[in-house]
């Protein structure tokens, strides 16, 4: 059947047409921030070149790329072995480690940065311990090392969750064949398993790198002159929205180049499951159990216990002030509600884009996918102001409602759901779907019974990532939420910036604590590792 979409290079069935329409809508919404920035930059088009020169944007861009590459590379090296331990071995306390080691994503990066300075900064806790043995000064934490450390421990879950999900759903029969033909466990992992994990690893690497481009909290506290920091200076100190827009578009450009580079290296490889999934035989770690436990413990200590320790210290210093439990409970409910709906809506929005990108690769789907990713590398303030502009002027009924906040989360965090979704979809063999269609099942039924169950691990991983980052999101929450809708992240920020650290500590600790339960449900709800 030749349908109207044939001219676009897409074979269009009704189902595909529906996916195309949905994906176009999603990509359009996600591209709003970029569109807004183009409008603002063009208003003072003659100053764009001057702005980029004056702010020495080239140097900041190089520094930003260096940091993003360093963070994403380290995050991948940390997370892939961890995902394998959690999904494929008899590691003790697996469920606990899965939840605990995903939680650093819910710690706002500026809180992480404050904790790292408190611990490793000059005159910090560590130096205090080392002073008796004559250590007068630790290596400089400010600048690249600090920013790299904070963002690595904040973003490695971006790699961990999708790779763990992929390990649960890749074709194990090939691995078993390799083992039965005499390949060692290590050889099987590197030559059979790892290549099949490439889409999930690439998706996680990309999320970590692009998040680093957008981060403002850590680079500002650790004094690393990244592009996001320049953009913030333009908005907050100079009140020059046009210069900020020029710099932000530069960041969008860097992000799109990164995405394209990833697409080129990814090529058109497919990693279909050709046989039904067998029950996994978990590798016995034996004596390695101790090493594996120490590895998890070390990571949890730096990424989770350190910030919690510093926060507890602040809390204990100022407990006499009393605690307004009612306000904290309300903020907690607000946080969970907005983050849960943000995660749900974002995941639904990601499905059609991922479907088109995997099943109908071509210029149309590639463009939609790029548009969907365009806002992710932007600092939150640019995204928030874009949505303020469009909603206040064109959608006043939506402005300052919970609906707009959820839309804001979807626009900011779409790639976090898209990446894992896409990686999962690459593993679904279209032949199974075709067989079901051939046997008379309708397209919806096939999607529901055949495709979705196989997608579930990736979809859940994506939803978890969106949920956790939405819990700690600040700039969009401040500007887009209904008036008076206070979340835990807002409470933490308001107190910390007024120097009331002890008052900031409690909502921050509760933020981490209540993120744990939904993370558990989501990672458990996905039937990833059997």
């Amino acid at each position: 059947m030749r349908a109207p979409g044939a001219a676009l290079g897409v074979r269009v069935s009704p189902a595909t047409a529906a996916a195309l329409a949905a994906a176009a809508l999603v990509a359009g919404a996600a591209a709003l921030p970029a569109l807004y920035l183009v409008i603002r930059a063009l208003q003072h088009a003659s100053e764009v070149g001057e702005t980029l020169g004056r702010t020495r944007a080239a140097e900041s861009t190089l520094r930003t790329i260096l940091l993003a590459g360093g963070v994403a590379g380290t995050a991948t090296l940390i997370a892939v072995p961890l995902a394998w331990l959690l999904a494929r071995t008899d590691l003790r306390l697996r469920s606990l480690w899965t939840v605990l080691l995903a939680l650093p994503l819910a710690i706002p990066s500026y809180v992480g940065a404050l904790a790292v300075v408190a611990a490793f900064g000059p005159r910090g806790t560590l130096q205090g311990w080392l002073e008796p043995v004559g250590v007068e000064r630790l290596p400089e934490i400010y600048g690249f090392p600090g920013a790299w450390l904070v963002l690595t421990i904040h973003t490695y879950p971006f790699v961990l969750l999708p790779v763990r999900a992929a390990l649960g759903s890749i074709d194990r029969s090939v691995e078993e064949a390799a083992r039965s033909l005499g390949a060692s466990a290590a050889a099987t992992f590197f030559r059979v398993t790892l290549p099949q994990l490439r889409p999930a690893i690439a998706a996680g690497f990309l999320l970590s790198a692009l998040y680093t481009l957008s981060d403002f909290g850590a680079v500002s506290i650790l004094r690393y002159d990244a592009l996001s920091r320049d953009i913030y200076v333009q908005y907050s100190a100079v009140f020059d929205r046009h210069a900020a827009a020029s710099l932000a578009l530069l960041l969008v450009f860097v992000a799109l180049v990164t995405v394209s580079a990833e697409a080129v290296t990814r090529g058109r490889a497919r990693y279909h499951v050709t046989a039904p999934r067998g029950r996994v035989r978990r590798l016995r770690l034996g004596r390695g159990q101790v090493v594996a436990q120490l590895y998890c413990l070390l990571l949890a200590s730096i990424a989770l216990l350190l910030p919690i320790g510093v926060l507890s210290d602040w809390l204990l210093r100022g407990l006499d002030g009393g605690i307004d439990w009612g306000a904290v409970r309300e903020a907690g409910t607000n946080s969970v509600l907005a983050a849960a709906f943000g995660a749900g809506v974002t995941t639904l929005a990601a499905l059609p884009v991922a479907y088109l990108a995997v099943r109908h690769p071509g210029p149309v789907s590639a463009t939609l996918e790029r548009l969907a990713l365009s806002g992710y590398a932007l600092p939150g303030i640019a995204v928030a102001l874009a949505l303020v502009f469009f909603a206040a002027n064109y959608l006043p009924w939506l402005y300052q409602t919970l609906g707009l906040l959820v839309l804001g989360y979807a626009v900011r965090f779409l790639p976090q759901a898209l990446g894992p979704c896409r990686a999962s979809l690459l593993q679904v063999n279209p032949k199974t779907e075709e067989a079901a269609r051939g046997l008379g099942a309708g397209p919806l039924r096939v999607f529901w019974r055949i495709t979705l169950p196989q997608l579930l691990p990736g979809v859940s991983a994506g939803a978890a990532l969106v949920f956790l980052t939405a819990m700690e999101e600040l700039p969009a929450t401040l500007l887009l939420s209904p008036i008076g809708y206070e979340t835990l992240a807002v409470q933490v920020w308001a107190e910390a910036q007024a120097a009331f650290y002890s008052q900031a500590a409690l909502p921050a600790l509760i933020l981490i604590l209540i993120s744990a339960l939904p993370t558990y449900l989501i990672t458990k709800g996905a039937p990833a590792p059997a």
């Binding site: 900064g121 609906g403 401040l478």
Partner: protein, 333 residues
């Protein structure tokens, strides 16, 4: 899982409904880039006194000012309140604040309000040199920020150049001493090993921890941090001789041009200048009250003793030139 999602839906709808709830009372919408608890307290008292509803949006001053500009004529904001005059100046420059009546403006000293009367200060924010009394004796402290470039201060001073309050101070220096003298001072400070911090809080911490000996900050951080954690090994030194280092900026308020509640807005601004609220701002916000006769914050000298340098705060909104200078000298990226 599915049941958990189903349970969330009514909550979400309730949230949607609550956000469009309206109980018929006159409503004033305030965007406040100021401390949340203080603002909530002020707004609760005002709502009670007037028998109205106040909707309060808290955020940082620059984001809220940018938001009002982006919202355009559809802005829900009636009153804008800001820490520091910069965001107020930016809004006024965009033509988004309407002039206030003279009897409101004249309650505060002339230096604490907009020259064109579009915003009025209600709390003072003094620049000080915070120092560690164990590492520096009070009589060793300089009489001017220009002395900080001398060799005995090498590597002992902290500043926060990305901080808007610091940038206001540099703008004041440009206005008082000229472009060349300011550039020379910035370069000499860099040459003298000044340490850069992200904000005032980290500077006060660094001074108290002995990481540096003195820092250029605003006066109230020390008092707020003390109230938060008890003792801190740091003291404020006030330049009380008209030196630019003793600049006093203000927290202020203005009425947004698109507001349809300008009269209620004016009454809120008058309320901020009453003795009751001036005292609250001093005790809870640690700012200087600006209406003569109100008590100064605990532990700080009376505002009459401060002698701020002779700078028009309205002129401080020219931050563009300051940031350009900071970038030229490599102080800012």
């Amino acid at each position: 899982m599915r049941r958990a999602w189903a349970a969330l839906i009514p909550l979400f709808l309730a949230g949607l409904l609550a956000s469009c709830g309206d109980d018929g009372l006159p409503t004033l919408t305030v965007y406040a880039g100021h401390h949340p608890q203080l603002m909530e307290e002020v707004m609760n008292r005002f709502a009670e006194q007037e028998g109205i509803k106040v909707r309060l949006r808290i955020g940082d001053p620059s984001s809220l000012a940018n938001a009002i500009i982006e919202e355009g004529e559809n802005s829900p904001a009636d009153v804008f309140i800001s820490e520091g005059a910069a965001a107020l100046g930016a809004l006024a420059e965009e033509g988004r604040l309407v002039p206030l009546p003279a009897d409101v403006l004249e309650q505060v000293p002339e230096w604490a309000r907009d020259r064109d009367g579009r915003w009025v200060g209600f709390g003072g924010r003094a620049r000080v040199l915070v120092y560690n009394p164990e590492r520096v004796r009070r009589e060793e402290l300089p009489q001017s920020v220009f002395d900080l470039t001398e060799p005995q201060w090498r590597g002992r001073v902290g500043w926060a150049p990305a901080n808007p309050e610091f940038q206001n101070f540099v703008t004041a220096m440009r206005l008082l001493h000229g472009e060349d003298a300011t550039r020379a001072w910035l370069l000499a400070m860099k040459e003298n090993g000044v340490r850069e911090y992200p904000n005032n809080i980290t500077i006060v911490d660094a001074v108290a921890d002995g990481e540096i000996d003195v820092g250029l900050v605003n006066h109230y951080y020390l008092y707020a941090m003390r109230a938060d954690r008890g003792s801190l090994n740091a003291e404020n030194f006030y330049f009380t001789n008209g030196d630019v280092g003793g600049l006093v900026n203000v927290s202020g308020a203005g009425i947004v041009d698109s507001s349809d509640q300008a009269e209620l807005g004016r009454r809120l601004i008058e309320f901020l200048l009453t003795p009751e609220i001036q005292a609250l701002i001093a005790e809870e916000g640690f700012e200087y009250p600006l209406v003569p006769g109100a008590p100064t914050p605990p532990g700080a000298p009376a505002i009459e003793e401060l002698q701020p340098p002779d700078v028009d705060l309205s002129a401080l909104r020219d931050l563009r030139g300051t940031v350009r200078l900071l970038q030229e000298t490599g102080v800012l990226p």
